[in-house]
């Protein structure tokens, strides 16, 4: 099933990963790979655009937790935008909004860096 997609858009000072479909234990490795690639290229300002994402499980949340320390140690951050209410509810349930900047629009996310 072509059930997860990640598209990358680079700007001068940040990169956007646009994710879509289902982010679960099966598809999480694809996102991991995309973020690892950004880190390898020393692109530490990362925006995750959730607009096309329909589902997330703890395996998906784990991807962000697995990288955030390294990214912040390199003066970067992961900002998040475009979550639908269903996705946001999962983040909220676990208190993630205290750890990550979660905004509606991509341009608000850019301003957060």
């Amino acid at each position: 099933m072509a059930n997860f997609q990640v598209k990358r858009d680079d700007s001068d000072h940040y990169s956007v990963l646009r994710i879509g479909g289902f982010l679960d234990a099966h598809t999480a490795p694809q996102l991991e790979e995309a973020i690892q690639k950004l880190i390898d290229e020393e692109r530490y300002n990362i925006i995750i655009d959730f607009k096309e994402l329909n589902y997330i499980s703890s395996a998906g949340l784990g991807v962000f937790m697995g990288f955030i320390e390294n990214i912040r140690n390199n003066s970067g951050d992961i900002k998040m935008c475009g979550m639908n209410p269903k996705i946001y509810r999962v983040f909220d349930l676990l208190g993630f909004p205290s750890l990550y900047d979660i905004v509606n629009e991509e341009k608000e996310a850019v301003e957060k860096f």
Partner: protein, 155 residues
């Protein structure tokens, strides 16, 4: 819509992550059929995903040919999901339920599955017999408002 008797739905599939979507679709459709709203359907979908992901990740040391069993028992008051594996088992009492403030402050990774299941469902109980039958039973009551009362009365 729900008859007084118990309706049981059983599913046995190979324990592979690429079956998680199929499991979610099946359980969500059934939850929709019995009348849960989309908020509860989302909770049930996530809880079953976490339970099945644990079987796939932890029960069989990655052997994808081993079975993952799901049973859904529906009666007039509740929707019960039983996920069973025949793997190595574990001691649920020894699993630390994370303190989320600490968890987030320390930037920890993993260990959120069982916590999520307990947060999303009204009841979560383990029954572990390593190598024979390791089961988690998760219940959601139909009357959301009363669910905690019912739960307390039963506990």
């Amino acid at each position: 819509m729900i008859a007084k008797s118990v309706h049981e739905y059983k599913l046995r599939i190979p324990s592979q992550t690429d079956n998680l979507e199929l499991i979610r679709v099946f359980v969500a459709k059934l939850a929709e059929k019995v009348g849960f709203d989309s908020d509860d359907i989302g909770k049930i979908e996530l809880a079953i995903d976490e339970a099945c992901t644990n079987v796939i990740k932890h029960a069989y040391n990655g052997d994808r040919s081993k079975p993952l069993d799901i049973a859904i028992q529906i009666d007039f008051q509740k929707f019960a999901i039983v996920v069973t594996d025949q793997g190595k088992g574990f001691n649920p009492k020894k699993v630390n339920i994370p303190n989320m403030d600490k968890y987030l402050a320390e930037l920890r990774v993993g260990g959120l599955g069982i916590y999520l299941m307990k947060t999303l469902m009204d009841e979560v109980d383990y029954d572990i017999k390593p190598g024979v039958k390791n089961q988690v039973r998760m219940v959601k009551y139909f009357l959301d408002k009363n669910s905690k009362i019912v739960q307390t009365e039963k506990a």
